[in-house]
Subunit: 432 residues, 2 copies
Amino acid sequence: MTTITRLDSAQPDFQAALKNLLAFSAETDRGISDAVDAILSGVRSRGDAAVLEYTARFDRLQADSMAALELPRERLEGALKSLPLHLERALRQAAERVRMYHEKQLMQSWTYTEADGTVLGQQVTALDRVGLYVPGGKAAYPSSVLMNAIPAKVAGVKELIMVVPTPDGVQNELVLAAAAVSGVDRVFTIGGAQAVAALAYGTDTVPQVDKIVGPGNAYVAEAKRRVFGIVGIDMIAGPSEILIICDGKTNPDWIAMDLFSQAEHDELAQSILISPDAAFLDAVQASINRLLPSMPRLEVIKTSISNRGGLIKCGDLDEAAEIGNFIAPEHLELSVEDPDAMLPRIKHAGAIFMGRNTCEALGDYCAGPNHVLPTSRTARFSSPLGVYDFQKRSSLIHVSQAGAKTLGEIAAALAYGEGLQAHARSAEYREG
Amino acid sequence: MTTITRLDSAQPDFQAALKNLLAFSAETDRGISDAVDAILSGVRSRGDAAVLEYTARFDRLQADSMAALELPRERLEGALKSLPLHLERALRQAAERVRMYHEKQLMQSWTYTEADGTVLGQQVTALDRVGLYVPGGKAAYPSSVLMNAIPAKVAGVKELIMVVPTPDGVQNELVLAAAAVSGVDRVFTIGGAQAVAALAYGTDTVPQVDKIVGPGNAYVAEAKRRVFGIVGIDMIAGPSEILIICDGKTNPDWIAMDLFSQAEHDELAQSILISPDAAFLDAVQASINRLLPSMPRLEVIKTSISNRGGLIKCGDLDEAAEIGNFIAPEHLELSVEDPDAMLPRIKHAGAIFMGRNTCEALGDYCAGPNHVLPTSRTARFSSPLGVYDFQKRSSLIHVSQAGAKTLGEIAAALAYGEGLQAHARSAEYREG
């Protein structure tokens, strides 16, 4: 019997209870932050030698040179060929769908010309070189390689360098196969803060990148936070979450399994269901109790659901949408009869899974959209990982002779107003 | 006589000398970081009362309530009406041009339907509420209000809340007028880390925002860095920089003044000129010496140019573009005969000012593009502030009955491969 927090939007302390359910503190441990400090400055000053030492110490992997820790392209292709056929096919199909979707995200340069001949616009270019962190061990997900690597390659990133720790030298075939399928250019079997440092500062062997993406443990997250500014980074992700809004007409077993699919990631993952139908919430609770014992990741699911799960009774679907906007979930399932009618009311969510057929798992692997999504209410202000994270814009300004006169007068007036005389005179020179 | 560092790309240690010229360390002082810590937790736990105390202490501004620190809309309109006519007109014209340019940046939602009826897409929505930090005192720039506020309003942000410290109660009319022109919704005369905290956590009077943008001193920057994750933030800006690539045919006085216009911002600002024409570099040096004494901000310019300025002799314009890509400057002037021919070789720059007429000052105020730009080589991976910083995307996935079968098989294969059985079963349920 696994009991889940039950809330009712009609109860007087609902707002406080909801905030309490969502509360999650991501304070960085001082010990981690000090250790990361030492590793970053070690790699910064001693380069490859430091990376080799840390790899020997933390991953129990000895190597004479960094070159020995690079996997040749043939190794990746070999991993792909060694997969069971159905798995190789699934990986290739998923990659193809992810590529197709992301191609729609490509930004294009544009310009426009004003009446006096002045041209304004925006030039879009790809990042030169990107680092992709892939965790080793239990959280080694090939799908995550696809989701991070493919948008970068679609954007036109010339060199995509993957780092993946291989503790005790154990390599994950599926992860290497995913690297082959998604066009990763180079792979180093290094990990932890030392891998982040190598990518951010560059060493004799590992080239300096412009941005580092991909998930990692607390050391990796802290290292990324520290090198932000020297290189770009993606979001630092919190625990994964799902919010399901259901009208009460979906098979409760399906909903229970969708909640499990989030909960099985991690004890801290959060699975919440909202429905106006109290009897349906009971039915889902019953499905949970019946299905849970058959799940291989039973213990993780149980801990996650008991500590952080929630079943919320709301007044109607409008109110459910409102509560959903407050939660701003990473994954939002609209398991309702007419999800299109509901969509305009949804403002904040990383990904929206519409209709009873669209479970989150389809999106996690192969629907096409990215599975790297904003967590912990950050969907209020941020977006899924996309091609746009590997492109950037430069403003274009080409002022005509006539334009220089008009604009020079405006600029000079404002510059004198701000007390910046060199700005004003520089503009006045162009007034002709 | 102000001497500027001279480099030559043909000298053997050029790369090292260039890196040395660009080097800038932005380490946060421990004292600042501790002070910010205390202020953030004060505001977090005591809300308005703490903000009032800090405002009294740091800005020497006493108020009985936070409401007394809010400026009514009429105050802003009054400031606008009180301006000299030419300044009001310049402000309105600049705002109008900035608005027109930014309207081109609006992202739209899109979807596409696959053969089996599955719909995929991306829903674009605006942030609900944004905080805009505007510095008080000497760095109070009305143009900065326009550049931060207008993109937010174009994006459709419903509530834009400006905070601006008014030490000793002194209010800047031009800044308030700029707020009126650009559609700021509410203004509080608070500043420092306490204003950032109020916006990030919310108080009884100041509503919690979703993102905080705008420049500030070291305390403000540190506070923004700390609250990142609870709210979004824009980039933490380093000192401003310009790189001018000139073929040697532009009036050297113009180029000298353009270098000054950057240098006058701040002693740490960086102004660099690259040209294949050594005699032209001499001519610009002579212009600098001749023009400098007439500049009101002489001392700032002199310090900036002597400590951080550079005149670089290169082989040809191709090499200049290459060096420019390494520097990835915030502002890049292409003061050459055919800037269009050069543009395809320019990969990394915040804004590109093309042709001899297009001095940076025109872009700073009124050309249309944003003047909030990536500094310190971050143009390698980031973009000017834009409408896109106030919009975000949600992925849309609506899988058809037929699609659920195809996708369910792929997802289940990969999920079992990753050992995530609940994912697999959730997908299999939908295979029908």
